[in-house]
Symmetry: C2
Subunit: 438 residues, 2 copies
């Protein structure tokens, strides 16, 4: 039996489960890949921790260069996180003729194009199934199972931390701070939660999804990104009364005929009976709309050591099974000048939830309606939720029909200047992406 | 650019959409597969129909042997349905060194083992993504994306016709006959609906799922199969009042440590808030529980010309991309003596819904409870739904805790002999397979 020799860099949450599951599933993986996949060497920062995981001392090093330079290894698995060191590791590994597996969405979002080109130049492969939606084989579905389709939409919940927090805020009526605290206690949020709650992590994943489905890497800065830190439980409650649920969504859409791709991350209102609304806690779910296949939904654990290790191992099996084939441009995006680009957020069309806190006096609604009307923006409903304190003024929730973002934001700016406004308008986008046959 | 030459046999619902979508997505597919996939020859039974689809006369033949014998073709796509002729086509094509793509679940369920062995012997590939759950890349997920996992369960709705009928019976309170009629009018049921409504089609798909996940082909006759023809709207209603929904499920389960695999198809009661309960109309959805990855759900269109063509085309792309690799035993099950076998239905453990129509007199429930009690079968609830007519006796719905099928059936047999019973006991299994984190 041939052996497929792997060097592993990083033995944290994910790395330690890759090591563990490869041991406990050794026979199965050998049968399924036709080779014995062996982790020959592991680079760690703290050998003490590694010994506790059960890794034999002789396989350990604290210098990742030893792995990248080892001519005996077929592939390098990078699982340390961050950007600068992984960039060094991966580019050097490819240059030295090694295939690469990584779960590092941040690195790919910033350097994906360059890394993919480098891989292609050196006739090596870089696989990263674990980087989006953890254990769900979503990238494979886009690249292989749904390969015949043009993608009209790829949208969903790709950050379990945010989904957990929003679920707690909704079901447990918690404040953002309390829900975040609970998420940390439960291990669903990192000590430094910034990357998750700011929406950045979801934007990184959106960049990868965009690259695979539309063959171009958007600049991270071009992706409109709004996090959940300032979501107010009041709005969750008001939206709930109107039949909507808050979800942090990554949304990628292309309209037939257009060369521009919408790509954006923000808290979004979804109808309660929408299939994504029932995805709660730390789960992920993504809808893919293909022009031939119609709507599909993929649901599962998007993070955690084991689910993520499942995806890393599937990448290793793929590498072990198939030699590099020149004519199989699975990651062809690096070589192709895509005809697409990012649509500026000002150009998108959406429905909106608008909450204004106003001084309660006659004529207020009329002035607001006039401003919206001038921009040709239709109001679908107005609610004045009951509140116990009027210190912040009276809340007014206005649901708005489809409007171009630019015009809607202009209207909001004008509204924000009205004398009777007690604070800045609060705005959320509303999505109805229809899933056929629901 | 190399070309990958295909012969297509059968130009019906699926075949005509394969032809159409290959034309409309030619450039995309060429980019993605690195070769031009070309349908060089098409065998049909009725050339007139084929000309209407827009196929040029010179590519048509009415003799499939011309395709199988053509030394210039790389692959044969079989899309005629049935068993005998497809068996001839596929075995001959493999023997003549051609790769094969098919959507034919019936053929695979009966001859899958032999065909897979033959493919392996001739170093050819047979791909059949479209045979289960249509456009959903489920077989690929099992074989590739989730390859590192031991499967604890694969269960779901794999027949859109039955799901459509049950949905109509539930939401529209229709009789089976009316719902079937509507399904035919809507194009969701064939003129001859037998294979679908009897559960056989789902059993065929279960056999394929079993082969891919447990590496053995169960005999079709070993799969416990019950259809939806005799589901009574009364039971749908009673179950609804108790918080359950009827779904025709294919259930495949393996308990840790056991060498026996449960594999069965039957109408099943699911809690209304279970994620599968919200899958309505002609949609399919399958839950996969992997020992590393946890629970996943895949949802989409399980039938229809386009979704099925999407899967056929993805198989063609895979064939075009990768040459046959000896060490890549994606379909290794043919060569492996599996250690598993089918668990007899009498050995499964399930909860049950039991409806009895009885003469309404004292002592009835006591006698029934005594029989169940003797077998150590616990009752979780008893309801006596209101009815307008007592001609059939008074219905008594009993929900039963987990029990071994054998003992439960013995109890039912004994109950059926009680003098006050007005008709045979009606029995349905109840599943709670827990999806984590729902
Ligand atoms: N956790 C998840 O659920 C998940 C899901 C999807 C993707 N990912 C991605 O997977 C990657 C790893 O995540 P993780 O959760 O496993 O992170 P982690 O628990 O922080 O593990 C990273 C490990 O790498 C080690 N390390 C850091 N620098 C190193 C160096 N120069 N040489 C050798 N080892 C080094 C760290 O050592 P110390 O312990 O000494 O700091 C730590 O053990 C990240 O890119 C992350 O975004 C994670
Ligand atoms: N339809 C779906 O949604 C779906 C989904 C999954 C899998 N499948 C599977 O896909 C296969 C095809 O299904 P389908 O719905 O496309 O069936 P279909 O509409 O009945 O098409 C079959 C076609 O094959 C032709 N044919 C029959 N015998 C032939 C022969 N000896 N030589 C050449 N052509 C022949 C038929 O010609 P005539 O028109 O002259 O009879 C017909 O046009 C079946 O195995 C089915 O189980 C279908």
């Amino acid at each position: 039996m041939n052996s497929f020799k792997v060097g592993l860099i990083g033995l944290g949450n994910v790395g330690s489960r890759v090591w563990h599951n490869l041991l406990t599933h050794k026979e199965l993986l050998t049968k399924k890949s036709g080779k014995t996949i062996e982790i020959k060497k592991i680079a760690v920062r703290s050998p003490q921790k590694a010994l506790k995981v059960g890794v034999p001392q002789e396989r350990l090093t604290t210098d990742w260069k030893e792995i990248v330079d080892d001519p005996d290894l077929d592939a390098v698995v990078e699982l340390i996180g961050g950007i600068d060191v992984p960039y060094e590791i991966i580019t050097q590994a490819l240059q030295k003729g090694k295939d690469v597996v990584t779960a590092n969405k941040a690195l790919l979002a910033f350097h994906g194009h360059e890394i993919a080109s480098l891989a292609s130049k050196h006739k090596r492969r870089i696989l990263f199934e674990a980087s989006v939606a953890g254990g769900i084989p979503l990238l494979q579905a886009i690249q292989d199972g749904l390969v015949a389709n043009r993608f009209l939409m790829i949208s969903g919940i790709v950050n379990g931390t945010c989904n957990y927090i929003l679920t707690e805020m909704t079901n447990g009526r918690m404040s953002y701070a309390d829900a975040l605290k609970k998420a940390k206690e439960m291990g669903y949020a990192e000590a430094d939660e910034k990357l998750d709650v700011s929406g950045e992590d979801s934007a990184h994943k959106a960049a990868i999804l965009c690259a695979l489905s539309y063959r171009f890497w958007p600049k991270v800065g071009e992706i409109y990104t709004e996090g959940i830190e300032s979501v107010d439980p009041f709005d969750i409650q008001y939206a709930g009364e109107l039949g909507y649920v808050f979800k942090l969504l990554a949304i990628i859409k292309k309209h037939q005929g257009s060369k521009e791709v919408e790509i954006r991350v923000h808290p979004t209102l979804l109808k309660k009976d929408h299939i994504l609304s029932s995805v709660s806690g730390s789960f992920n779910a993504v809808i893919i709309k293909g022009d031939i296949v119609g709507d599909q939904l993929f649901y599962g654990r998007g993070a955690g050591g084991d689910p993520t290790a499942s995806a890393v191992l599937s990448d290793l099996v793929e590498l072990a099974r198939y030699p590099y084939v020149e004519c199989a441009p699975r990651l062809f995006f690096a070589d192709t000048e895509s005809e697409y680009k990012v649509m500026p957020i000002s150009e998108i069309v959406s429905r909106y939830y608008l909450r204004l806190n106003v001084v309660d006096k006659p004529g207020v609604l009329a002035s607001i309606a006039e401003i919206l009307g001038k921009k040709n923006i239709g109001i679908s409903s107005v609610v004045q939720p009951e509140v116990s304190s009027f210190a912040q003024g009276v809340p007014l929730v206005i649901m708005v029909h489809d409007a171009k973002e630019k015009f809607f934001q202009e209207a909001c700016l004008e509204i924000s200047r009205l004398p009777f406004l007690k604070c800045k308008p609060i705005v959320y986008r509303v999505e109805d992406f229809h899933v056929q046959g629901e």
